[in-house]
Symmetry: C2
Subunit: 405 residues, 2 copies
């Protein structure tokens, strides 16, 4: 029956009762004949609680100690899950990131996985045991405890699935799959049965907060089939795998993110390397830039506009001001009242008509488009924050996404 990797997020293990529910599910999977590695996050808000504690004792950043602190969270949840599984008559053993052989670099709080030395996991699997692994954490070659940063537990699960050549990697979360749009905004949004890695990347990067991009990228690289499921319902969920749509234009969904800010550097000299200077400076601080548009202007000057997540603004603004001075740009503009939305679907690149449809629908809905950028599978627009939900609803209806393929 092969090996299955399951990952349970913080909400799924958020209370003793939920941990028991997770244990029931694990035992069912095992009894159906699968070998099983289970990756768990810290319980509920416990990571935030630990961060708060750190802030109360220290005003500075101590990345090494922060990693030591935060890794306590998964240690607690994995031990509890393992106990609950053992209670149900299946042998389970919990392993820290270090015991699982998740070897990382030493970039504390945002370490990258270098390799997986899964010998101990394999030994336990060979004994018929279920292995419960702490997500989000690893160990450096210098034997220092590290954490993987945002989306770390998903990344742990996918990396283990790749290393152990699992037949499936199931991500249990508090939603039951990926939808054609955010169901809180578009009530008739439809759950997608499957999605390509690239489509998922676009959906995830724009606020469909189901899977972190980093884990999807890793899954794509190693061809790990992902399955997003609810830990509370028995629904089918969404499968993420290689593109399957061939040449047909299929619009899969509309992702949107209201928590972004627009930053525009105005009057940037038009010389090579300018964009690289700006975005290397921003990217070097670990900030994910969402949308970059450079409009050529007259007189050898350009405007460079981009979007960042609201939570990154505090980091980005000083970097942007420094870049403005270095580059000799005239000024910069900061606008927090924007949002981005993206129509996602493989095949969009070869479809002349879809972009026109998108723009027409938005115009009819009286939504002003401030920026446009496209890729082979996306048409992304920046609009006013107050317009974005209306825009998503209008597009969802016009593109008839509530109807299945």
């Amino acid at each position: 029956m092969g090996l299955v990797v399951q990952k349970y997020g913080g909400t799924s293990v958020g209370s003793p009762e939920r941990i028991c529910g997770v244990a029931d599910r694990i035992v069912r999977t095992r009894r159906s004949g699968h070998d099983l590695v289970v990756v768990v996050s810290a319980m509920g808000d416990s990571t935030d609680d630990l961060v708060d504690l750190a802030r109360r004792v220290s005003s500075e950043d101590h990345p090494r100690e922060m990693d030591m602190l935060l890794t306590a969270g998964e240690r607690i949840s994995m031990a509890l899950v393992s106990m609950a599984v053992n209670d149900r008559g299946q042998q389970a053993v919990s392993f820290t990131g270090s015991q699982s052989g998740i070897v990382t670099d030493t970039s504390h709080t945002r370490a990258k996985i270098l390799e997986i030395r899964a010998d101990r996991i394999r030994e336990e699997l060979a004994k018929g045991r279920i292995v419960i692994v702490a997500g989000f954490q690893g160990v450096s070659k210098e034997r220092e405890v590290t954490t993987l940063g945002r989306g770390g537990s998903d990344t742990t699960a996918v990396a283990l699935a790749a290393a152990l050549q699992a037949t499936a990697c199931e991500i249990y979360t508090d939603v039951d799959g990926v939808y054609t749009a955010d169901p809180r905004v578009v009530p008739e949004a439809r759950k997608l049965a499957d999605l390509s890695y690239d489509e998922m990347l676009e959906m995830a990067s724009l606020g469909a907060k189901v899977l972190h991009n980093r884990s999807v990228e890793l899954a794509r690289r190693y061809g790990v089939p992902l399955h997003v499921l609810s830990s509370f319902h028995g629904n089918e969920g969404t499968r993420i795998r290689k593109g399957v749509t061939m040449e047909q234009v299929v619009i899969r969904g509309i992702a949107h993110d209201p928590d972004v800010a627009k930053i525009a550097l105005l009057g940037v000299p038009d010389r090579p390397g300018v964009a690289s200077e700006i975005f290397q400076a921003v990217g070097g601080r670990g900030v994910n830039v969402r949308m970059i548009v450079q409009a050529s202007a007259e007189g050898g000057k350009n405007d460079v506009t981009f979007a960042v997540g609201t939570h990154d603004v505090k980091i980005v603004l000083p970097v942007v001001e420094a870049a403005r001075a270095t580059l000799g740009a005239r000024a910069f503009l900061y606008d927090p009242d924007v949002a981005i939305l993206s129509v996602v679907g493989e095949g969009l690149a070869t479809s002349a008509g879809t972009a026109g449809t998108v723009f027409r629908v938005l115009a009819e809905a009286d939504v002003n488009i401030e920026l446009i950028s496209t890729s082979s599978i996306t048409i992304t627009c920046m609009v006013r924050q107050s317009d974005v939900e209306r825009a998503v609803r209008a597009l969802h209806q016009a593109l008839q996404l509530e109807q299945g393929p």
Copy 2:
């Protein structure tokens, strides 16, 4: 100036504010020129909270997973203490039991330390860093996480002090030393400036809950000088070291413990090995037997009476009933309403008068003595629980313990 090992208990690191106070003290010690290894317990009641969580997910014992769970507690406090020390301009680094090289056997939840491989600690000390070590935990040769059981953090501190040949091992706690009697019972009780290891063992085993016996035994074996201090006051505390009283009878204090139960096996056949059978069975469950008295009776039958801590009763009773059946004893008696008190002082063995004084004082105070047992440094009596505080006060006054030597 040499190396100092400091240990801070759960109350001392019970809140962010207290952690900052501990960090202040650590930095002061470092600035006075000492190298410093700091052992910390889990914050306040956090270990109890983790045990509660385990009970809510599991009704069975899972010692390995319990160790994994509980070790999260010290991981949190050590990271926070390290952050706070770093904030104050001194370099600190936190180490788990495993990183500290505390190698134990695999008896989960009550592991014994086999050896200390303190290379990493020495390396960090050589770099001028303060090393913050998680108390209570270790790692087995099979790379499994273990905990040391009750008194574990004190034991960690003493073991490290021995391995690193520290000039002092300072135990910071929520009381400011060892008193001639429990100050809540005897208001005029006097803090002792010093005490021998043996005296401390007797005081500790009878409820002077300052230091766990196991750590005192370890300190005695390796000659580690202990210093018990309050983490909240600047008082002098109590020093524990080799006996210094020569041949003079010095009564150091009166320890008492109301949380004990009496168990008596009645009509035990008088043949060799009987006592060993009973107490091996009880001791094998990790239960500490406080007082053993065997009264020879007529007709080849004995009564064997002993005391155990109230918290051990649930474990002990089934063992006792099994032993009763095996030995062919007539019955056993269980009495929870008793207490024990002990007059402690080196030199008591050679003093004929003291025992008589003790019994006379108790008689005058109308306290009935149910059992008596003595050692070279103790006279121990079992009395009614309702009498014990009156008995302690009467003895303290009669022996003039409020006056210094």
